[in-house]
Symmetry: C2
Subunit: 343 residues, 2 copies
């Protein structure tokens, strides 16, 4: 087992100073051609690579991006990470991933851990609990310390920083508008509880679309789900009692669950009831029927977030006077599949 070789060892071996080795390896003209060659050959032989930690300490830069998300076993978040990782890698950055498990405390702990020098900046999506508590001091603190933060998807207006989101309200509006134009009049909604920002916005889009078409908002066909595992009864009751002709679900899990429950009750999708979901993930693509859905390009979102963060990191070099935070919108569109029909 040969441990990694350091400048010091090379210096000792070649009987020159550490500085000389360092300079020789960086092709400084200060060093004679002879010495340079000798040092470089030796370094190559022993496969010398500078120690990242030492470089980080010296440069006060880690070239590492901290990602904090609620969970990773979730197609959308996985695609976002994928997008981040790609752009990060292209720019010489690594990503260090922490999961909050939707817990406020874990989110705080993770941020504090990474903020102590481990990363240059953060890309994050808020945990449910954080959104509920509306406590963002940990994020604000990190920003105050001069570390840039980019939030995506689940964001808050209470923190000033760069953000990457889709226009949830508009996307939901378009989906519901599409249903209305197809002739549906009794369109149900399966959504989250209100403190989840994206759920709330999508619900607003649903409401606005119905309003604009002079359709009534019927609370009986709106189901707000807190816990996915115990939602069946509520959805079934809604389907049973109010016979909606279409459903807009604010994520694909809700959509597929609704479809399955409908099937169980003898309703055929899309013949008896049409369903539109949100997020173009694995489920929408492979369920039977395949699900018409609002695509939400996670790769693109992650890529953009990474780009924004890196730009800000490299910009800081000069002067950090311009605190012009941006919010970028990633476009969405409806992916038409089998779960919707015309009447």
């Amino acid at each position: 087992m040969k441990r990694k070789v350091t400048l010091k060892q090379i210096a000792k071996e070649l009987d020159v100073s550490i500085s000389t080795v360092s300079k020789a390896l960086r092709n400084s003209i200060e060093i004679s051609e002879d010495t340079r060659q000798k040092v470089q050959a030796f370094a190559k032989l022993y496969n010398y690579k500078p120690n990242n930690i030492a470089l980080s300490l010296k440069n006060k830069k880690t070239k590492t991006i901290g990602i904090i998300i609620p969970e990773i076993v979730h197609h959308f978040f996985a695609t976002v990470i994928s997008g981040i990782e790609q752009v990060a890698n292209e720019n010489g950055y690594n990503v260090i991933v922490c999961l909050s498990d939707e817990s406020f405390d874990k989110e705080v702990i993770n941020m504090e851990m990474l903020a102590n020098g481990s990363t240059d900046g953060f890309i994050m999506s808020l945990s449910k609990e954080t959104q509920q508590k509306k406590d963002f001091h940990h994020i604000q603190e990190v920003i105050n310390q001069g570390m840039p933060v980019v939030m995506f998807d689940r964001v808050t207006n209470d923190v000033l920083c760069d953000k990457v989101i889709i226009d949830d309200q508009l996307a939901a509006y378009d989906a519901v508008d599409f249903l209305v134009r197809q002739g549906f009049k009794n369109i149900g909604l399966v959504t989250t509880v209100d403190y989840v920002s994206v759920g709330k916005l999508r619900t607003e889009g649903y409401v606005n679309a119905l309003n604009d078409h002079d359709l009534p908002i019927n609370d009986n066909i709106i189901v707000k789900i807190e816990d996915i595992d115990n939602c069946a009864a509520k959805i079934e009751a809604m389907l049973q009692n109010n016979k909606p002709d279409a459903i807009f679900a604010v994520n694909e899990l809700f959509a597929v669950t609704t479809i399955k429950l409908a099937n169980k009750m003898g309703l055929k999708v899309p013949e008896d009831i049409s369903v539109i979901g949100f997020t173009d993930g694995i489920i929408s693509q492979f369920s039977t029927p395949t699900i018409t859905t609002v695509s939400q390009n996670g790769i693109k979102m992650g890529g953009r977030a990474a780009k924004m963060l890196i730009e800000r990191l490299e910009m800081e070099e000069e002067e950090d006077g311009n605190e012009q935070y941006r919010t970028e919108l990633i476009d969405t569109h409806l992916v038409h599949r089998e779960s919707t029909s015309t009447l």
Copy 2:
């Protein structure tokens, strides 16, 4: 913007030496009660936290685990990361994730990047290209430098290190055995090309099960898929020409694809043909029909891998004479769902 405070700043402010501050914060008995209190109060006020990078450099330990996997937008790998992250976090480790995109070169580059001080060890699953090339020098090198490596799922015998796998062959055997016992006699196989280690093993399990039941191996009902996007024709032809009464697919994507193609041809699952997949992911759970599958607990796998790595890291403290590499088997079982029937 108040940058992070350092020992030096505290020392200056309180007019004591850096060592005194350091010791006071660590509650050294060398320091008087008075000074300790004063320093600790000041540190708390300014929210002092030791700089991780400096600690890493000093201790020659980063408390970081490098994960290198082919892709993250893949339910199984996401669950493994989740499992790793959890155990890592519990033990004070962070995880830094790199994706090889199934590319040998990216795998090498990522390893070399992280090996230069960024991580204490690796948990990895081989890229397809690496498995095909059988070139593992980058892994061997890292091990030679004294960094422990744990491989999972896609492993190789050519590298000596800890491994966490399922018994792919046995799991496949059990699945096919189950089909045979249900009365199926013409069982097709949808598998990967041979260089993918897990595909190969699962194929062997299929062959062994049929052999043990004295059933013939019929190459006409075995489809080896290289590229998922262009596999439809081959599968359809197999279904059409050979009328298998059951199919064993080596992953869930192949399973759901087969089901969809069967449906398209007018075959009902499970009435006309039964299907068993591999990996209990989102697709198997939510497709219609839900898919009977070999469960492969990614969370557990990741957790075990993390545990093995951390144990080795903390063990190294003492003496690294005992190179007793272990291979842990994670148990699998068949999850019975709608895609299989008795004859």
